[in-house]
Subunit: 142 residues, 2 copies
DNA sequence: CTGCTTGCAAAGGCTTTGCAGAACA
DNA sequence: TGTTCTGCAAAGCCTTTGCAAGCAG
């Protein structure tokens, strides 16, 4: 996995997005957000760490974890709890769903228009909706 | 959480179910299956460990983990990857979905009839379906 | 008997945390 | 200057594994 400057969103734009989400744009946060925002993708903390530091050390592991958690709380990215061994962060914040290949761990987006969750049951008492996640598990044809 | 004998499925019946799933019925597996099969519920390994050993030590931690993994592979229970910190095992094997309270971690079943996943997109090339999980995240009304 | 299963303790992987120093306003 | 943030290392939690002893068929 390699990222050249041409593929990346300009830092100024990233800073604007961070501010919109009430996140003060430190150097490290901009570096991380720049990678995530530049295209829709699913990355775990370890992958972000590797990409952000591919040229020279820029962000520590602890900061990557803490920053991804912060971004998720602020709605900049979405946590995906699908792989039992680690959390993935989805930079696509439009409402959508996922294919999950149980053999390879691969995640693929599904546009929300391609799934009809037509009818939803009544929520448990005293709760309000927080989102609907549809995961279509697939495995390789044998 | 407490379990009396009256609430539990008879061991003979549990052994039959294990055999149907190609699982040789050792003492420990019967103990664990008996708890899981006796009613629909969502339990993590630690909870199973606690319940199975509530009177006297019967099954070790390693065996609980390995047995739950075995049961899941054999289709006796279903792994739920919803809580980011641990795996839950669902003894309800009928097709259904879940409410997940992000504040409390509470899981509640949704009958499959109460959700319409009407239209599904084409699967990625070379894959076959393995299941559809719908998670309706809710949080407490503020 | 022969292979499968168990239990213990240790190891492993992912994530969080405590705290001192650095950056920022 | 006071607050926030970062980095390092250590700790924490859930889960898996290596291996010797035990059990099932």
């Amino acid at each position: 996995m390699s990222y050249t400057n041409e593929e990346l969103m300009p830092k100024s734009e990233v800073i604007g997005i961070l501010r919109q989400h009430q996140i003060s744009p430190t150097q490290q946060r901009v570096e991380i957000a720049q990678i995530l925002m530049s295209k829709p993708q699913h990355l775990c903390a370890e992958q972000v760490l590797e990409i952000v530091n591919q040229d020279r050390p820029k962000v520590s592991k602890a900061t990557v974890y803490n920053t991804l958690g912060l971004f998720a709380r602020k709605g900049l990215v979405q946590e995906l709890i699908i792989d039992p061994t680690k959390v993935y962060y989805d930079s696509n914040t439009r409402h959508h769903h996922h294919f999950y290949n149980v053999d390879t761990g691969e995640l693929v987006d599904i546009n929300k228009e391609e799934v009809d969750v037509a009818r939803l049951p009544n929520l448990p008492m005293g709760t309000i909706p927080d989102g609907v996640d549809v995961v279509v598990r697939v495995r390789k044809a044998s």
